[in-house]
Symmetry: C2
Subunit: 195 residues, 2 copies
């Protein structure tokens, strides 16, 4: 049973997250202050660290919300396997085009600092992405000797690296074409019946 | 003809770059100062901005030296095409394991800042990597309808993303296994003769 107080706390959390996601995308992560988030969300400034600890904590929560969206949005596709490959790549493209996706890159450098407090949670985000990918691969007839985990690292890696190249050179990289090519490479390597 | 003064300037530049590469890898980019680089290289502190402008300029020059090493080191392999795929992936693994490769990630966030002065040069580094990959692909019989440029973005992307997952979770990601899988996917998708 959820009490009224818990419900309000949950609602405040959501309002803060939605406001922060918008502001990070518009103004950038570094330029956004707790005061900006308070103003946009209508929630008092003091509640933000109460909910999220620090600004990195808030950023991580914004990213985790994105990952939850991936998890729920893809649940259906993942069970349909290979036939849905083109559809899956369209979903990945839509995800990369979300302004908040850029924050994955911003946070990466923080996570790589020695003794970073957010490293463990960032690794969890990568784990979730790889797990989604492995679940999808379970429905494919992988060739003998191919390890699903290594394929998942490769595919998640390709999406990460395509995203970054596109962020840096949006006029030269066409994510639709490149993700289509990734789909074709996966399909050519894993779905071709060998004689 | 190179004058004695030009030669000395070139030598100083090299000594600064070698010292900076070591220090960035040992202490981290943010923690390294011009004074540290001066002490390690034996070149006066004031010469460093004269050669490289800013600390970001120095970092970019360190990275460009890595890219030059890739370019010269791979020139032979790139012309030998498919037969060298395993060998090529071993070379990529050795490159990712170089401590300075982590700096590619550090600099990425700086390059993504709006109006970043280093963005253009970072994009050039990506361009060089893609161009090397395209040159290698020229020796392969690509299936009809497959665009070498899009395949290059995908492969370079996979290497970038595999590198980052490994940096974050070195105990869970085995770069040798994953790069071997990438090689197998490329070979399965592009080198299989279709009936």
């Amino acid at each position: 049973m959820t009490t009224r107080r818990e419900q309000t706390s949950q609602e405040s959390r959501e309002l803060i997250l939605a406001a922060a996601a918008e502001l990070f995308a518009q103004k950038g992560y570094r330029q956004t202050t707790f005061a900006d988030v308070a103003e946009r969300s209508g929630i008092s400034r003091g509640s933000i660290p109460w909910h999220f600890g620090s600004k990195e904590g808030l950023l991580l929560a914004v990213l985790e919300r994105s990952v939850d969206l991936i998890r729920s949005g893809y649940a259906g596709h993942l069970e349909r396997g290979a036939a849905e490959l083109d559809h899956l790549m369209e979903g990945v493209e839509a995800l990369l085009r979300q302004p908040t996706s850029k924050l994955f890159v911003t946070l990466l450098v923080e996570a790589l600092e020695p003794d970073s407090p957010i490293r463990g949670r960032y690794v969890q985000i990568h784990d979730t992405l790889r797990e989604q990918c492995r679940r999808w691969l379970e429905h494919l007839p992988l060739p003998p000797g191919v390890c699903a985990e290594a394929v998942a690292v490769t595919i998640v890696g390709a999406v990460i690296g395509i995203h970054q190249q596109w962020l840096l050179a949006p006029d030269r990289i066409d994510p639709e074409e490149v993700l289509g090519t990734l789909g074709m490479l996966i399909s050519g390597a894993l779905l071709t019946v060998r004689g």
